[in-house]
Assembly symmetry: C2
Homo-oligomer: 436 residues x 2
């Protein structure tokens, strides 16, 4: 059979990885796919730089639309990132009857519904394994490996930059700002790290996972997003003393009233495997009713790890390119006519456990006031840590771990605790998940 | 579309799991598969017991051949285990044009080549996600998720019984025999645990993984198989002191000369995630050239975890049942005409590191003799531990960790060391993998 023809949009970090891996492993990939997969055209802003990577045998163009509109191309691989231009190019490729492979989580989290609808109508595939957790085949696991299951929750370390920062803060006892600076110098964080450190990137990925786990449309605007920029080294240390690690988790959870979709720093028991995922690595923990707990671990970013997922998609699409659409795995795991309208809950309605740290006067009665406020709101206490005040100090820290409660109860409790005359400043609140 | 009709052979632990999960999650599964999946016939030795599980609406028969020869059945699910009867039934089902789903690793490791050939000729699918690592979708990950990669090695904890025993031996400092007895009482080990504790079950699974990783025929007879029955508690303890845990690993590794395929107790650095997989859990670590390290973790056995994989296969087969065979994922990951003849190496040609423990006289010169023997065979030492002799004792233990070498060198060294007058008894040899 003649090779399938692929056009690349963008040949930066991931694009060059795709090019090199396809070239290096072409024999092995062809033995698997049963058909050659050939990059025949590349669009790059800097065509000269692109030619240095791919040589003279491949057509390099400056206009992405030249690839998208080229009738010779079977599959368009979108690796330019961003929302708007990518959206237009992907929709144009679909309109032209081309299959699309993309690593663009922002694009899918925001415009996924429109893109999948267009693809469905046109009978083409949009594959996006590389959009979540880089090289880990987590989309395939959720969408195909766990089809028997009712998925209860997913909790993922799905942003390597923030996991690296948290690992370093813990290991070296440094502040967020100090580690961020180091991470930028080492290339583990971008010059503008906002999307990573504010949790937006993780929320894009969690949005995609929630959709394929529960068969709901992409609803990034309903996700609760809290990054790690406010996290203090002292809380990492207190958490450690209580037997927990702090990880930035993307969480999707099915509850009676709907779906929780949230990204925030989270205390996790130190003995859990996922609590021991360090540095820039990613891991996704899935709890489902038949299989129980499964975990998927690997590199969440980087040139060749991400290329690994892009090429896996290329092989899948190649196998099914000429097949009846009914034989294909649906974009959101569930058939398009079986998508559900389960609501995504506002954060106030989310149920979890909490870590509270408050700075108090070291005198009798303070703790009684705090525990009475919690009890009045039916919040029960799981563990408590009261630090000895330093020499000559009259104030100290109280740390409380609560059992599960709704966020709105904790918000009400914190408001009252902060009004106590014996408590100074703000109460620090972190969420805690047992993940068992 | 009308539902696809499934016949079950066997309704024991896994079969009843398949029945219950399909029933409980039928809506969710249909929303994913786009078509109903209906068990319409069950073969069971004890038909009365079977009817108690599945009720009156499903036809229960005593003869498995009645299912296999029923023209109404689209997919046969083989869950009876064993080699010979299962082989005949599966081949008959294929001859009758039915797709087959099986959880039977022994069957595939021994008769897989014959079965896949028959399926290929008949244009039907044989799916076997449940045959390796129970509920973990590792076959899908290797066969579809990592298609871009040249897989360097796979190391798996793929037998829950032995991992449970090893965890207990370490935690409680008990002997193999003591823990085995407890495991049997708790139902974690079978009445006849031979296949588990001798490593045969793990070797079946490693054989299957090696085939799909490297596109080679199933060659169980060439696998090196060593179980945990000879493992002494003292070695678990010494390994711990040196920073290692002992796990029964199934290993498939591609080297210049061919493929290593081996199952044996293995020292693994304690800081590796896989070293912390405890109890009856399974995990598979895969090292490949593009994505690097990925790890897959979950329950490796049990009714519903295994059913999860069987049903995932049913959904896959349902989607592709009427598709052109060329659109399907090949049985052994590589196209049938692209299977390779890479040889599986005999254990003497395998390269790894070693843990050696010897009982020696506590006097000068002993260590010099041992190290000279190792040096003469170009085996270099990575670490050493010499225990202080107990009160009044004149003999002690020396533990040596070597760098990588070929097994034949270690065999030669041990032969010479055992001849030293200062060394008493046998040298204990365990293999060590850094897994990095």
């Amino acid at each position: 059979m003649k090779p399938i023809k692929v056009g690349l949009l963008g040949i930066g970090t991931v694009g060059s990885g795709v090019f090199h891996v396809l070239q290096r492993n072409q024999q092995e990939i062809m033995r698997r796919a049963g058909r050659g997969i050939e990059i025949t055209m590349i669009a790059a802003r800097n065509t000269e730089r692109a030619r240095k990577i791919c040589g003279d045998t491949i057509q390099v163009v400056a206009q992405a639309s030249d690839v998208v509109n080229n009738p010779e191309i079977d599959i368009v691989v979108e690796l330019i990132g961003g929302y708007e231009t990518a959206r237009e190019l992907v929709l144009q490729a679909i309109a032209n009857g081309k299959h699309v492979v993309t690593a663009n989580k922002a694009l899918l989290a925001i415009h996924g519904n429109e893109i999948f609808k267009a693809a469905q109508e046109k009978g083409v595939m949009v594959a996006f394994e590389a959009a979540v957790a880089g090289g880990i085949p987590i989309i395939k696991a959720l969408r195909e490996g766990l089809t028997a299951n009712r998925i209860e929750w997913i909790a993922g370390i799905i942003n390597g930059t923030t996991n690296f920062i948290l690992s370093e803060m813990r290991d070296k006892g440094l502040s967020f700002q100090e580690v961020l600076k180091q991470a930028q110098e080492l290339g583990y964080a971008e010059a503008d790290p906002t999307f990573d450190i504010e949790g937006v990137d993780a929320a894009h990925k969690a949005t995609i996972m929630a959709s394929i786990a529960y068969g709901i449309p992409m609803q990034f605007d309903k996700a609760y997003v809290e990054g790690i920029t406010q996290l203090e080294a002292v809380d990492i240390q207190f958490a450690e003393e209580l037997g927990y690690r702090i990880k930035l988790l993307g969480i999707a959870k099915r509850v009676a009233e709907g779906v929780e979709l949230r990204v925030h720093p989270t205390l996790v028991p130190a003995k859990r495997l996922i609590a021991n995922v360090e540095g820039a690595m990613n891991a996704v923990l899935v709890q489902s009713d038949a299989v129980g707990t499964t975990l998927y671990y690997g590199k969440g970013a980087g040139s060749e790890p991400t290329a690994s997922s892009v090429i896996a998609d290329l092989v899948d699409v190649t196998r099914l390119a000429t097949a009846d659409p009914e034989h294909r795995v649906p974009h959101l795991a569930f058939q398009p006519d079986a998508i559900s309208n389960l609501p995504i809950l506002p954060i106030e309605e989310v149920t979890t456990s909490y870590y509270l740290r408050m700075h108090v006067e070291d005198r009798p009665g303070v703790l009684a006031d705090v525990t009475r406020i919690l009890a009045d709101l039916t919040i029960s206490i799981d563990a408590m840590l009261q630090k000895e005040p330093g020499d000559g100090a009259t104030r100290t820290d109280i740390i409380i771990l609560t059992h599960q409660t709704k966020e709105k109860n904790i918000i009400a409790a914190i408001e009252k605790i902060e009004q106590l005359a014996t408590v100074s400043g703000k109460v620090t609140k972190l969420r805690l998940e047992e993940l068992n």
